[in-house]
Symmetry: C2
Subunit: 287 residues, 2 copies
Amino acid sequence: MDLSTYLKYNQTLVDDALKDCLPSKETRPESLHEAMHYCVLNGGKRIRPILCIAAAEAFCIPAKQALPPAVAVELYHCSTLVHDDLPCMDDDDLRRGKPTCHVIFGPANAVLTGDALMIQAFQLLAENGNSALSLELAKSAGSLGVIAGQMEDLAAENKAPSAELVEFIHMNKTAILIRAAVRMGAIVGRADPTELASLSAFGEKIGLAFQIADDVLDETSTDDILGKPAGSDLEQHKLTYPAVHGMVEAKAKVKELTREAIAALSPLSRNTETLHAIADHLMNRKY
Amino acid sequence: MDLSTYLKYNQTLVDDALKDCLPSKETRPESLHEAMHYCVLNGGKRIRPILCIAAAEAFCIPAKQALPPAVAVELYHCSTLVHDDLPCMDDDDLRRGKPTCHVIFGPANAVLTGDALMIQAFQLLAENGNSALSLELAKSAGSLGVIAGQMEDLAAENKAPSAELVEFIHMNKTAILIRAAVRMGAIVGRADPTELASLSAFGEKIGLAFQIADDVLDETSTDDILGKPAGSDLEQHKLTYPAVHGMVEAKAKVKELTREAIAALSPLSRNTETLHAIADHLMNRKY
């Protein structure tokens, strides 16, 4: 199977599983469940869940068995997007070419929708019964992970560019959750500690590369391709990698981190071809 | 030990455990961790965790062993208060006599603080390793539980009083989480299904009584005693039990539900004296 077929196949698998785990839109409160569907089933690329699945597959675990953590990571990710877009946060009106949650359902319902998606992620993991997965998500998501990154990201607006600060934000806001997605796949695959360390390094490096590539694309791409206003980082005075290190250095860093990520896979006596291909694909993506 | 000593003793136990489970205020991002401490260590009565402990004790489990679920329920409860108070939600400036989170830290940080507390609750349960407890909290907290209640509560403002709607809101917004607290104590105590059913009924009834008593006190008490503006339900056009059924009926309902709660304990061959005493105490509380 070539990579684009693989990505498409697993995107559908994840989309179906996401839909299955949400209460139907006819369930009371209807507007809450409608908002949850709207924010989750939105044509997302499902990078995080697919990385989780690919990591599990490296340990000969079928995709289906990795779906609960894969879907949980995506639910949590969606919840952060809903809260990030709120008027009191980044105040974004458009995501993936569609109006954001609070534009359609109002800010109060958007707060509750994000909360409900977050809880749904942990419910799915609890139903699965493997506490190691819940712990991985919670630690990566919490006040020492994604939330820390978002907090410093907001606080960094209008601040002087700082290499240390941009790295803290990228590591926490983005890389930790991508690393968690990879690690959760490896945990399902009963990876030993050495294998888990290799995959953690892989996940972290592609996570950092992913965020720098995002910053680059925000400056160099168009509204149509991104599904949101290009240049919004600049407009919101966000602290970005190109702002600190320049565009040339930023593009080089994406390549360097991707090389390092792929190198981290080499000690593994597992079939990591797919993970390797995804890393290359992410480096070269245009949106 | 008399009840007020018992409550005080366990309040301290819970407060210490809450403090222990939060990253220190010196941990980066400092303002996030400061906000988490501020919103959690606020002199709360700790009714939910104490009910969890008392339920576990009925099964001869020492309080200390019930602390992880007890503390997790309280963390989750605190997270809902932070989000409820937001300007785009109930827009409350005062809680327990102190400025609310968003007044001190701003709305964006308040959104993130609530998120972080929610995740911390699930992290604590994951560290404890009993998925049944995580599942109980997630199901009670999510879009078919507390969030459903908050959603309908917001939507009900300015709507015509309806007995069905006020019961849906009270059940979901309040009773389900109090029931979860009791059930989690019973789960730690390895209650059998019949015992769990009895304690579920107990938790649900006192939860409903608790919320009706809250509605009554909001109309009949003073700012000083409540630590927040009395009459705020009326001012915010909230749908309350007295608004639907009248004050006399509301007060009678609190007593009736408490009687039913205590009756639900009677089939248990366990020492439920403390649970009984807490139910009476909640019925007679003045704040």
